[in-house]
Each structure stands twice: as structure tokens, then as C-alpha cells.
Symmetry: C2
Subunit: 460 residues, 2 copies
């Protein structure tokens, strides 16, 4: 059995590590609402102190600070390699609260799962990584490689100030590989690895009609902000799901033959997805390879929120003076979010919606790590040996994050590993992970440490 | 000077009548939210007791009860005529509270105005009518005609149970004329009379995507409820402001030559409207007669509310599983709301939006009283003699209400008269009336009583 000594220690101390996780989960930390951020950063710092990581808060020129920590390899390790962990102590808002079966900040354990906002994305991973190092130190003493923690506080709002951190402290970003903040099992239960992220261009649209909400009898001749916004949105994408902004797809690339082969190896969980999401079919009736390619290699343009007028019980005959929508666009290949933002604004103007105000809330470049990077083999075999299943390797995730800032621009290979699963409800009500996966995730990180240190020694 | 005795009494007791009004305004009574309805009905009953109107609550088969009261003419009046007052003790919701300059339930007096939800629509009129009768009784004793009050509790939610009341109690609806619940001055300050109302078909639309809000990375292939609803709404009306539902306009009529002449006589307050509403131009660039005809003789299809996904501060990368919109259609001529509802549903189905759930929340027939009805002359000359200005006579209002149920179906002539004005913000934040208009409105009702009783005696 691999890693028997550390595995036994982790099993014997499972309750202690679960307790660490609950402590962090019970602290709300919503960057979008500036809720509990200082307190959550403090808890992460104290947990990093448990493993002697000398944590410190690093200013990001006005944003939420980065919690940075490092633990050096033992003095007898010659020319140790460096593995970094990228995480974030902020989480998504918990709203709508009424759709949760238990308080999102209670971290209740029920049916073998821990239920809490952020447990999958990504507080479970923060604590699993700290616990893995703690267990290593208790069982084996000093570490075989250098470890670094870069734990930011603004991932869920699009990491707006992380570029300041990476520009101010490029030395702290150096590493031989980086374990990304999320990871875990697919719907099928099989572990999965993602080697990149889509980019993000998140905008907020504001339409204006009269200077206040008015009696709707005036609708004959007074402009209605809600109609303006509906028409503007409709100009962006129709039921054919094709984005109508000229130039939007110009920098999107089809997958290479190697990438197509990687997609072909992925199992088909289309049926499980339909059941999970309660739908009859996927958009455009896609299945199999067509769906896989669209999921990984096509950008999106999503209405994330819309609010206007009276939305309470019953009738109110009012004509809205204002309307607001949030739109998130996930970008692929070399779609630059700032270029996309300009195309977006130009399109609305051309379509006669120059009256709609457009604000850029978040911008991230897409980025990927090659399928052949050494860390991929390490994480992959560690999954296989611990989980008893070959992991599925995705050339990219359909999600977004600062992979470009932290990995691609510094030539650092990135790879995901984590404790989530396909029913974890990240960003949604009833977010959860399996308690067993949390324990397994601790062991997984320890095995990655062992093998990445060893594989490096061999390669040198 | 007309009505000198009663006028003097009203001026001397202005504070008392303003106090009655504030008492009623300080009681929230939002039928849409079932807020304070019993309490408001109780206050109205007690005020009707002041004038010996023997008020009673009349069941509407499960809806909010109608407060009914009547005061008979003095015993020496032979063959007295009957004038009824139609009002409602419910008001629109006060949301959004943060746009009010003072508490909508405080009835604050500031700058010569009373600021409160419902003061214009239509609690100011309820109290002015009761006060007029009270002053008459104090000064002159018995009344020269029979008076009836029909004060319902569901006007702002489309009077869904008023048809039950009129079916169960046609005898209580009989009258020679009915003073409608609203009325007052135009933007220009000139008094105005409306002789009918548009109909109403108010629907709520629900779109469904996946069975919960999801991480927006899934937007590649999972349906988004907000997009479904945007596209469905877009299918109903485009920026040309023409409703696209087949058959929608079939029963709409152009104004007759007589009606056109009445519209021609109305002054042009287009410029004042643009300034008041803070807009550069009216829809379709309409002005003058074209705008008047559209306001009075064209139906509308209005988005009154839209809610979906995350609408809080900052970014949340979520794909909505549900979306809701409220749509109000104001109907003209003989557009039947139930027929329109069927056309609406059939259109969505034809356009591929059979997945959108459509609920009918309110249905009212359009209705009008002839320009030649005797009550029109009485209200009109009373305005002229008290306000010093000839009133503007509108063949119909652009608003909606149960004119058909209470007037047209019983052959009762209706006419508006009231204390509001063009800046009263009915249905909007900062609803208000001028204190002076409230006092003038009391006198106006007294003069209408005197003249309607007298004109009747002459005509017999």
C-alpha cells in the first residue's frame, strides 16, 4: 500500500482535520459582499502556522490581501524542487438562502457529507493541503521539497487585484509546478484532472427609461428600461445559442488532434448529467464528442442575473425606470477579455443600444498547461493509486480563473487536484463534499508531495 | 361665490379633515401583500360612521371585503336621485422604499404637500368625499340626494373579486351616476375629467432551466432560464413598439370624429412631460395629436418586473435555473382580457416557448361613458367654477379599473373627480398631493352633490 504511514496517521486524526475545516467553513467570507474577509484570512494564517509556514498577508494595492506561506525542504534534500498551491479564502455568495437544506455557514455533517458554502470551492482543498503537510511532519518530519501557498481573497469576483500581486512579487510565484485550487471527482465518481481554464469577461448592464418607476398607463409613449434591456440582450444571442457580436469568435480555436484524442478518452456522462440537472436534453441537442468539444473549446455568453421593476407577490402595474443585468462570458484560446469588452460595447452601439451603460466587472485571460507536463503524470498516478481509478484528463476546464497570471506567464505548469465531486453544487445552494473524499484528498496531496519530490530527483 | 357656507366651514375645519386623511394614510393597506387590509377597512368604516352612512363589510366570496355605506336624502326631497362613489382602500406596494424621501406610511406634510403611498390613489379622494358630506351635514343638515359608497379592497391587484360583489348585489350598484375613484389636475395644473378606462390583462411568466442555479461554466450546454425568458419577451414586442401577437389589435378601434374633436381640444403638455419624466423624446418620436391618440386609443404590453439569478453587488458566475417576469397589457375598445390571454399563450407556443409557464393574475374589460352624459356637465362646471379653469375632458384614461363592472354593465354613467395632479407619482415613490387640492377637492364634491341633485330636479 502506498503511503501507509501517513495514511494511518490521517485516518487516526480525521476528526481533528475535519474540525479545522469546519472552523474555516463557519467563517463566511464573501468577497463580492466584503463579508468576513479579514476574519477568514486570519483563520487561514493560524492554520498555516500549525505547519510552520510563516504566513504573512501581502497587500494587493487595495484589494483583499494574499495570504502567503512557505515551508522549506529539509536541510538534507539537495537542490529541492518547489511545488506551489494556489487557493482562495473567498467564496461565492450563499444566496438564495431559502434553497439550502441547512445553514450554509453551519458546516453541518449529514449523510456522510459536509454541507457549506465554499466547502468544495475551495476551503476543503485549503485545509486538505495544510493537513497533508501537517501529517507528513508528524510522521516523517522534514519535507522532501519546498512548498508555497498563494491564497488570494478575490477569486470569486474574478481576481481583480491578483495581477498586482504577481507583478509586485514575481519571485513568490516561481515554482516547478502549481496544484490548482479545485479538483476532484466527475459525476461518475471517477477522478478528473483539468489542465487549464477559460477566460472571463464579466459585465454589468444598466438600462434607463424615465427618471423613476412610473404608472404603467404611461407605457404608450414613455420608454421602459426593462424592454430596452431585453432587446439589448436579445441582440447578443438568440435561441440558436450563437453569439451575435461581430468578431467574438475570431480567436477561438478548434482542438488539435492530440486534444481531440484526450477528449475521446473521457467517458460519456451525458445521461447522468441530464438526470442531475433535471433537463430533457442539452442545448442544441448535443451529446458525446460534440458536447465535449463545446464544453471545452467554445466560449459562452450567459445572463447571470436580471432585475427590474416589481418582483414581489401579485400585481403592480408599474413601468420600470431602471433595469440591470449581469452577463458573464467565458473565453477560450486567445480571446482577450479587454478586446471582447470593446467588441461587446461596439455591438450594442451598432444595434441601437448606445443608451445601455456597460461596466466591466472582471477580466481574465484563458490559459492552459500542456498534456505532457511532468506534474500531470504525478497527480494522475497518485489519483490512480489512491482512488483505484484512472483519472480523466481534460485539456481545459469549462470554468475560469487566474491560470494565466499565476502559471502561464511564469512558465509554471498547473494541474488540478481536490476534494470536490460532480454533485458538489459549487456556486449553488447545498454545496457539499463527501467526508471520505476530504480524508482521501489529504492523502492525495501527501502522495503528490512524495512523488513530485522523487520524480524530480530522478530527472536531475 | 358658489357654495360659500360650506366652503367657509371646510376652510375652518381643514386641520380636522387633514387629520382624518393622515389617519388613513398611516395605515398600510397593500392588497398585493395582504398587508394591513383589515385595519384599513376598519378605519374607513369608522370614518363613514361620522356621516351616518351605516357602513358594513360585504363579502366578495373570499377576497377583501367591500366597505359599503349609504346616506339617504332628506325626507323632504321628493324622488331623490342617487350618486355613488367608487373607491378602494387598498394601495400599491410602497417598494422600493429607498427611493422615497420620507417614510411612505408617515404621511409627512412638507412644502405644502402630503407625501404618502396612496394619498393620490386614492385615499385622498375617500376622505375628501366623506369630509364633503360631513361639512354639508354640519352646515345645511340633510342631503339633497342619496349617496352610496362602494369602497373595495382589491383595485390595485385588478379587482379580481369585484365581479362577485356586483353579481351578488346588483341592487347596491344602482345609481344615476358614479364618481370614479381618481381624478384631479393635469401636469399643467388644469383640472381633467376622464370618461372611461382601459382594460387589463396582467400575466406572470415563469421560465425554467436546470433544477437549480448552476455554476455558469455549464452554460455551454445547459439551458438558462433567463435567456429563455428574454427571448420569449422579445417575441412579444420589438423596438418598433408593435405587439407581435397575432390578433392582438383586432378589436382595437380608431377614435370617432367626435372623440378626435375632444382630443383636439385638449392642451398639449408634451414638453412638460418630457421634463417631468427626464426623457429626450416620446416613443416613436410621437407628439401632439398622434401622441394623444396613442395614449387613449392604443393598447400596451409592458414588462412590469423581471427577476432572475444573482442581482446583488459584484460578480457571481451563476446560470439561473429560474426566471420570472410580470407583463401588464392595457386593453382598448372591445379587447377582451380572456381572449387576449389565449392569444398570448398561443403566440408563445407558436414561437417555440411552450416551456414558459404563463399565469393570468388580473383581467378587466375596457369601458367608457359617453361624452354627453349629464354627470359630465355637472363635474365639469363644478371644476370650472371652483378651480377657475375649464377642465380638459378625456374620452378615456390610459389607466385601468372596473368601470365595466360597476358602471357600463349597469348603465350607470361614470365620471372622474379627485385631488391628484400630474406630479402625484401614483404607483411610484414619493406619491403626494397638494394640501390645497385636498381642501378644494372636498368643496368640489359638495358642489357636485348640490348641482347633481338640482339638475336632476330640473330635468324631471
Amino acid at each position: 500500500m502506498v503511503l501507509e504511514d501517513i495514511s494511518t496517521y490521517v485516518d487516526d486524526h480525521a476528526d481533528e482535520y475535519i474540525g479545522w475545516l469546519q472552523t474555516l467553513l463557519r467563517q463566511p467570507s464573501v468577497a463580492a459582499q466584503n463579508l468576513g474577509m479579514v476574519e477568514a484570512a486570519g483563520i487561514v494564517q493560524r492554520q498555516l502556522e500549525h505547519i510552520g509556514a510563516s504566513p504573512r498577508l501581502i497587500d494587493t494595492r487595495g484589494g483583499q490581501p494574499v495570504v502567503f506561506g512557505e515551508v522549506s525542504a529539509g536541510a538534507d534534500v539537495s537542490d529541492p524542487r518547489t511545488l506551489s498551491f494556489y487557493n482562495h479564502y473567498d467564496v461565492q455568495p450563499a444566496e438564495p438562502y431559502d434553497l439550502w437544506d441547512s445553514d450554509p455557514w453551519a458546516a453541518e455533517i449529514r449523510d456522510g457529507h459536509i454541507w457549506a458554502r465554499g466547502v468544495s470551492d475551495n476551503k476543503g482543498n485549503i485545509v486538505a493541503r495544510i493537513a497533508a503537510i501537517h501529517a507528513w511532519q508528524q510522521v516523517r518530519g522534514e519535507l522532501p521539497l519546498n512548498l508555497r501557498f498563494i491564497i488570494e481573497g478575490e477569486e470569486e469576483i474574478g481576481s481583480p487585484n491578483l495581477a498586482n500581486f504577481t507583478a509586485d512579487h514575481p519571485d513568490l510565484c516561481a515554482a516547478d509546478a502549481c496544484i490548482w485550487e479545485f479538483g476532484g471527482r466527475a459525476l461518475s465518481g471517477q477522478p478528473q484532472i483539468h489542465l487549464g481554464l477559460k477566460g472571463m469577461c464579466y459585465v454589468e448592464l444598466h438600462a434607463h427609461g424615465a427618471n423613476s418607476d412610473l404608472h404603467s398607463s404611461l407605457a404608450t409613449t414613455i420608454p421602459n428600461a426593462a424592454w430596452r434591456l431585453v432587446w439589448a440582450l436579445n441582440s447578443l444571442k438568440g435561441p440558436d445559442e450563437r453569439v451575435r457580436i461581430p468578431g467574438f469568435y475570431d480567436k477561438v480555436l478548434e482542438p488539435t488532434a492530440e486534444e481531440q484524442a484526450a477528449l475521446e478518452r473521457l467517458p460519456d456522462d451525458d445521461a447522468a448529467g441530464l438526470e442531475l440537472y433535471g433537463i430533457d436534453r442539452y442545448l442544441l441537442n448535443l451529446r458525446g464528442m460534440e458536447k465535449k468539444i463545446r464544453d471545452s473549446y467554445q466560449p459562452t455568453l450567459t445572463i447571470a442575473g436580471f432585475e427590474s421593476g416589481y418582483t414581489g407577490t401579485g400585481t403592480k402595474t408599474v413601468m420600470p425606470g431602471a433595469a440591470m443585468a449581469k452577463v458573464d462570458m467565458r473565453l477560450c484560446a486567445s480571446q482577450d477579455p479587454h478586446e471582447i469588452f470593446e467588441l461587446f460595447k461596439a455591438h450594442l452601439l451598432m444595434q441601437g443600444f448606445g443608451d445601455i451603460e456597460v461596466r466591466l466587472l472582471s477580466a481574465l485571460m484563458p490559459a492552459r498547461t500542456p498534456l505532457t507536463a511532468p506534474i500531470v503524470e504525478v497527480v494522475s498516478t497518485a489519483y490512480r493509486d489512491l482512488y483505484g481509478e484512472e483519472p480523466m484528463i481534460y485539456p481545459t476546464s469549462a470554468g475560469s480563473g487566474p491560470w494565466y497570471q499565476l502559471c502561464e506567464q511564469f512558465g509554471v505548469d498547473g494541474c488540478t487536484a481536490g476534494v470536490g465531486n460532480g454533485r458538489s453544487n459549487a456556486h449553488a445552494p447545498n454545496e457539499n463534499i463527501a467526508v471520505d473524499d476530504f480524508i482521501l484528498g489529504i492523502k492525495h496531496i501527501a502522495l503528490i508531495m512524495e512523488r513530485f519530490a522523487a520524480s524530480t530527483a530522478v530527472s536531475q
